[in-house]
Amino acid sequence: MGARENILRRIRAAQGRTGSEPTEAEMALVRETLARREIGPQPAFAHAPDRLAQFRKECDRLGTTHATVRSEAEVPGEVARYLSETGLELRLAGWREYAGLDWPGAGVAFEGRPARDGDATGLTGCFCAIAETGTTLLLSAPETPKVTALLPETHLCVVHAARVLDTMEDAFALLRQEVGEPPRSAFFVSGPSRTADIEQTIVIGAHGPYRVHAILIEP
């Protein structure tokens, strides 16, 4: 008898069931329960009347700076403004979907490739955002590498207002609807990295980015 069978047998015996494998009927019952996708109690602020205001408020709480533009065409200009004001070089590695924007016009050197160690700034989009917690959700795919949001010290994230949802449950529902099941990485980002492991003193900027800047597109 292998370890798997031993473990399952012990569990089943402890709960008054025989054998070392759940029956088809038991599995069907469990799958039925799972398929209901029961949602638990949600706090009132999870359904704020002004969703974007709630998103911005939570960004403030966690240290994600944010700016609002009216279209993707305005993104390079906002990026140039943010990087100069922050004292950073006008250069970044970005997701290829943004390669066609007017980067030269804004004076920003855009490289459409996954970020490497040594890249100071990474630009990504997101699958959707969650207003309840000021979170952006990035899904891994060939053209949306996770490293671009993780390795650089500064992470710029483009968020379309129409893709800002109320709750994580809404995000999962949208994921099921548009993608089917979660990809290798479903990366929920809520602010720059931090640690408080030394004397419980919060330090912003641990292993992940020091800065996260959300660029909201609100037509």
């Binding site: 569990i11 709960q15 949600q42 917690t133 060939p142 290798r184 931090r194």
Partner: protein, 470 residues
């Protein structure tokens, strides 16, 4: 981790005299306890959510075999290899084999309490692998050759001066004095390891049956590095971590960071399913998930089953007056505080950890703070009963409790003994009305005097007053 729980009393005494630890614990308590209280106050439906969370955790445990089989089916379908480990030794053997079979030289680890349980680092190093802890707290402890003293803030017992000394010895750079600079130095020291590790090992805060997903709840970004950059990703986790759906995760994640450190959400939720697809830019080529039993199946169907609901938030220890004063190392194993007082006896034997369930005043703070409503004081009391039945306590204690039981179940005798006791204690107080030393338990009066009782029992006084009125 080596079991030292049998030395609890001695270690607790030492820790009470450790001024540095006392200061660190005071600071941590303020942050964790106040942080949680504020987050809970803002939430609104906190109690309802606790009830829901307890329900979904219980449902998973009641169907543990089916949930695990469903998890295995989905994880395998997505390209992960699922391994089952009955014991600590099995878990280590499986992971070391994976490493050696794949020519792994360097392993980068994000935090995993299960890996502490099974002594994974030691076993990997014995097999010739270089193991780097990447969570800052665990990294500090790795340099100090010390075990963690808290499940969320492992280096809570260390001061910044101690950390600065460790960094000087390890990094060979000039000694730092400020915490942000130290954090930066650690970031730079570890960045190189992330990029060159052959294998990343992570724990998993939960595993999701419906999708075959493993996930981490972190602030630092190291778990993301460890699960994205190396070519092999290995997850080690306890079998009780399985939950049903992504919606169950969404519910539990509202409780976990708030209960642990008063945050609404952690900076990163790394929800990982399967291996990287052929045309994907980043991610591991291989994923191994090691499901560890190591005593958990003994809790299923037992008196202690509710303990399996635990989501490892640390709220119980943060609120425990005993833990707050002696810290985590006194408990002598991986899990300190109230949850440790239940899990340690369960996993290493009640005879090896007997003092732990007794290191409680049953104030109930832990039960109130627990996000999944584990009745921690009740479980500790059951362990005390088990100890009494198995004669595991010193004979003096057993005799005293037996004597108390004898008297307490005989009302006439009880009334007589308490009348006697009230008169004797009153006489002992003398003219000052203060008892300076209690025979047999003089530890209690070493630093304080006990006010002497009035000399008559409550029932005598009540009767007297009632008859005056009549």
């Amino acid at each position: 981790m080596l079991v030292q729980s049998m030395h609890f009393k001695q270690r607790a005494s030492e820790k009470l005299g450790d001024a540095l630890l006392q200061g660190n614990m005071r600071k941590a308590k303020g942050k964790f306890v106040d942080g949680r209280a504020k987050a809970v106050a803002e939430f609104g439906v906190w109690e309802e959510l606790r009830t829901h969370a307890a329900k979904i955790r219980d449902r998973a445990i009641a169907n543990l075999d089916a949930y695990l089989v469903e998890f295995e089916r989905n994880a395998t379908r997505r390209g992960a290899v699922v391994h089952w480990a009955e014991s600590a030794e099995d878990a280590c053997r499986i992971i070391v084999e994976i490493a050696l079979q794949n020519g792994v030289k360097k392993v980068a680890k994000s935090k995993s309490m299960v890996s502490e349980e099974v002594n994974l680092n030691e076993r990997m190093e014995a097999a010739g692998l270089q193991v780097i802890e990447t969570d800052l707290g665990e990294y500090i402890l790795q340099l100090a050759h010390e075990p963690p003293s808290h499940i969320v803030a492992p280096a809570v017992h260390k001061s910044k001066e101690q950390v600065a000394d460790l960094f000087v010895a390890a990094h060979g750079k000039p000694r730092l004095t400020e915490i942000p600079a130290m954090t930066r130095e650690a970031r730079e020291a570890l960045r190189g390891h992330f990029l060159t590790a052959d294998m990343g090992i992570s724990g998993s805060n939960f595993i999701i049956a419906e999708t075959g997903t493993t996930l981490t709840v972190t602030n630092e970004g190291n778990a993301d590095m460890v699960t994205t950059l190396p070519r092999i990703h290995c997850v080690i986790t306890g079998i009780e971590k399985v939950i049903g759906t992504m919606e169950d995760f969404a519910a539990l994640i509202r409780l976990l960071p708030r209960s642990a450190i008063g945050q609404t959400i952690t900076n990163y939720l790394t929800v990982t399913t399967g291996i990287k697809m052929p045309d994907e830019a980043d991610g591991p080529e291989q994923m191994h998930i090691v499901l560890v039993d190591a005593g958990r199946t003994r809790l299923v169907g037992s008196d202690m089953q509710e303990m399996l609901r635990c989501i490892r938030c640390g709220a119980c220890m943060n609120h425990c007056p005993v833990y707050q004063n002696v810290g985590g190392h006194a408990y002598g194993w991986v899990y300190p505080g109230p949850m440790g007082s239940i899990l340690t006896p369960a996993y290493v034997g009640l005879e090896n950890a007997g003092d732990l369930p007794n290191a409680a005043t049953f104030c109930g703070e832990c039960a109130v703070a627990c996000p999944v409503k584990i009745p921690l004081p009740d479980l500790m009391r059951k362990l005390r009963e088990q100890q009494f039945d198995r004669k595991l306590r010193p004979w003096t204690e057993r005799a005293a409790i037996a004597a108390w039981g004898f008297v307490a179940t005989r009302p006439g005798l009880y009334a007589l003994m308490s009348k006697l006791g009230a008169r004797v204690a009153s006489w002992m107080g003398g003219r000052e009305g203060l008892i300076h030393s209690l025979p047999g338990i003089d530890g209690w009066t070493k630093g304080r005097d006990m006010p002497a009782p009035a000399g008559r029992t409550f029932r005598e006084l009540y009767k007297r007053r009632a008859s005056h009125r009549a």
